[in-house]
Amino acid sequence: MSEQHEAEPYVATEGAATVQDTGTPAPDQPDGRQPLTGNAIIRAVTEGHSVVLTILAVFVALLVGAVLIVASDPVVLRAWKSFGYAPGTALSATWTSVSAAYSALFEGAIFSPATISAAFHGGSIAAIFYPLSLTAFEATPLILTGLSVAVCFRAGMFNIGAAGQWIGGALVATWLGYAVNLPIVLHAVVCIIGAFIGGAIIGWIVGEIKARTGAHEVILTIMLNYVMYNFLAFMLSSQSLMQAPGQTNAVAPSIDSNAMLPHVGGPPPQAGVGFLIALAAAAATAWLLNRSTTGFEFRTVGANPSAARSAGIRVERVWVLAFLIAGGLAGLSATTIVQGQTAPLTTTSYGTYGFDGITVALLGRARPVGVVFAGLLFGAMNAGGTVMEAATGVPSDVTNVIEALIVLFVAAPPLIRLLFRLRGTGGAGPQAVTSKGWSG
């Protein structure tokens, strides 16, 4: 992938020009890359390289999450009441509570040591990779909605409407999935294309209205979300529309098995072809944004629409095209759910994918590679959170708080520097992405 732009925020953010960079000493090489010698690593740690800052941000977020877990655990609270004469009990209860929750989180998301020892005693080797597979499955729709939001960010717009676009894609994919009869691979491909088009239409509406009348995309996307929530409920409310025959609940018919995405790791909730679609979409988006003329126009309009217009770029066309592509990506996110798991479409299938896409795009700094990693991190949190809730009874909502805190702390390098007494002043937060306010 395009190493220059994509690798930049992760390897050499010191060189990336931002407003706060003024105090940073000039990097060793003109292109902003530093050789990874021991000296450089030490300096990276003491001055707060962006990778170090990200790790510290995750650490602080987990710490806050730990406080939350402990503060609502009755056993720990009782132990703390008798802190005066049994401080050891209080501390050990705290440690037990937090470590149980976090190790369940880790085992649910990355790997569980138990499966390795089981593999040595004749257990399945695939079981070792089961948590990772869950993580990838959870990450799939988030990566795609994240890309959707990211494309708009790069073109200087804020897409709160990924949820509505998701529904547009989901409706088309579902309809094509049960109403049409096609041979095996072709059917799935037709559904995927249909979902892209379905989402793209909803995105296009926003871009077109914005381009023609100057209406603000934030209002348009919020309103279209609600229109689509109700439209979905409407479509699933009657047998003459899209409700499954013989059902009283608002459920769409199950799609044809020919249209299902094939499994890779195992049956859902394990990673399937949808994950590969997400990676391919990320690669395509990266190429589009960084290597194509259209992408250059997107970025130019995003950086300064006035200058873009003076330079002869048709700004309105960029708005329409960016929202069209963003909608299509959100539609693809829908396809990984509709065709990737066995449950049929319901009125709540859209979940929080659209909104989580915003946080994923922000954490990934609106760069496709960043979005993939951010999506994987959030996927791991979601997968681990479910396991944690089942194992320890700590509600998985705590992972949502931790995710949001990670985004916040990553976006606030000055705060992390202050907390850890780091010397440097650089380290770009995602403000490089969006700091334009409403007047895009």
Binding site: V19, L68, S72, F158, I160, A211, R212, T213, G214, A215, H216, V218, I219, L220, I222, M223, L224, Y226, V227, N230, F231, A233, F234, S237, N304, P305, S306, A307, R309, V315, E316, F355, I358, T359, L362, P395, D397, V398, T399, N400, V401, E403, A404, L405, V407, L408, A411, A412, P414, L415, G429, P430, Q431, V433, T434, S435, K436, G437, W438, S439
Partner: protein, 425 residues
């Protein structure tokens, strides 16, 4: 920022707004005639002007359903032609919009109630419900306005409503005092505002990021505490205390106006007060002038000695306090109990209402009332068993907003420095 001041990026309006508005009027008039008129059941539409059992009972109004729709449709089409031919002054444009919308609503109601077996349309109920449904939206929009007029984007309204609702329910339940709940909810909203201010103003984090993140944290945190504390200890933490309604002594007895505007709980009166205070404060006081100066051109404001950071901090926290009251309304002001995600997107609707209302208090109130009215209208229409899916009715206000934003409002201009952190040189 400065470049946008010099050469504003303006979407060239490809369709002349004058003809767009005229076309919209005529289309609405045609809907009046060909949908509501032709498909109306024969019989009268009855509008009841007082609640059942109210003491000064007003006679209900009887109108023939189809004829009403025809007449109102004709009026709309006439105004559409007028709008296309004559270039009306600004107040005239607004008046025509108001009349056409009113015609549309009245013919919709006439169609819905004509020949209905359920009974008359309860006009008072509809208007009362409109006001109460608008309270959280108005307060949220005012909160957003306070922040954005000083140059800080507030997407955290949703989070402020949600945490405010949670704290209000919990405090009222633990102490038994609804007023304490209101204050607690307000303070929590203010605390979220303080966090927003801290990250946006001091740590220079992108304001949209902070807002979105605070919303996610608010949802996660309230869900977490709800599951962990409120559900297991419901009698202690979620007992469902609510305010009683207070009827204003003299005004409350006026027919129609009394029950609609002056017979509600304290939240409605607080909302009135805040609308007036903020409207006058922002546009007729020294404080308001300074706030707007900071929001439009912080460098100039700083040069003449206005403390930019302090003004922004103060406004963002004040906005949070207001949104917190709106959140408290959701629990102690109406249902009493906190439930998971009780604000359910009101904060985003409030945000849209603020933008729709062009960052002015009265505009935001009008937009919020539009949404409140639509919610309540949907309830009333489903009572009358209108043969239209309730989902289509629920969709209507959002479609209407899109049409209004695209056709009538168009490009809105936010405060020039909105969303830009100020770094003192």
């Amino acid at each position: 920022m400065t470049t946008t001041l010099v050469t504003p990026v303006r979407a060239p309006v490809t369709v002349s707004r004058r003809y767009l508005a005229a076309g919209t009027f005529i289309v609405l008039g045609l809907i009046d005639i060909f949908v509501f008129g032709l498909f109306a059941h024969s019989g009268d539409a009855v509008f009841a002007l007082s609640l059942p059992g109210a003491t000064p009972k007003l006679p209900a109004i009887h109108v023939p359903g189809a004829l009403t729709a025809y007449v109102l449709g004709a009026i709309s089409i006439g105004l559409g032609i007028l709008r296309a031919v004559v270039d009306l002054p600004r107040w005239g444009k607004r008046l025509t919009i108001a009349i056409v919308l009113l015609c549309f609503l009245l013919s919709l109601l006439a169609w819905a109630d004509a020949g209905s077996s359920v009974g008359p349309l309860q006009v008072i109920d509809l208007l009362q419900g409109t006001l109460t449904a608008s309270i959280p939206l108005v307060l949220g929009a005012l909160a957003g306005l306070m922040c954005e007029r000083s140059g800080v984007i507030n997407i955290a309204i949703e989070g402020q409503l949600l945490t405010g609702a949670f704290t209000a329910a919990a405090v009222a339940s633990v102490t038994g005092g609804v007023w304490l709940g209101l204050i607690g909810g307000s303070l929590t909203g203010g605390l979220v505002g303080l966090i927003l201010a801290l990250f946006a103003i001091t740590f220079l984090v992108d304001q949209i990021i902070v807002g979105v993140v605070l919303d996610v944290i608010a949802l996660g945190l309230t869900n977490y505490l709800y599951d962990r504390v409120m559900v297991p200890y419901a009698e202690t933490f979620n007992a469902g205390n609510t305010f009683n309604t207070v009827k204003v002594p003299v005004l409350g007895n006026i027919p129609i106006i009394g029950p609609v505007f002056f017979d509600a709980n304290v939240f409605l009166y607080i909302t009135y007060a805040l609308i007036v205070i903020i409207q006058i404060g922002l546009f007729s006081t020294r404080w308001g002038l300074r706030v707007r100066a900071v929001g439009e051109h912080p460098v100039a404001a700083d040069t003449v000695g206005i403390r930019v950071m302090w003004t922004r901090y103060r406004n963002v926290i004040l906005g949070g306090l207001i949104a917190g009251i709106g959140g408290a309304y959701l629990t102690v002001g109406s249902v009493g109990f906190f439930t998971s995600n009780i604000s359910s997107g009101f904060g985003y609707i409030a945000l849209a209402a603020m933008i729709f209302g062009r960052w002015t208090p009265l505009g935001a109130v009008a937009a919020a009332l539009l949404f409140g009215f639509s919610y309540q209208l949907q309830t009333e229409l489903s009572v009358l068993r209108v043969p239209v899916s309730s989902f289509i009715l629920l969709m209507a206000p959002y479609v209407a907003t899109i049409i209004a934003v695209a056709g009538l409002v168009g490009r809105v201009r936010p405060p020039a420095a909105d969303g830009k952190p100020y770094i003192k040189a």
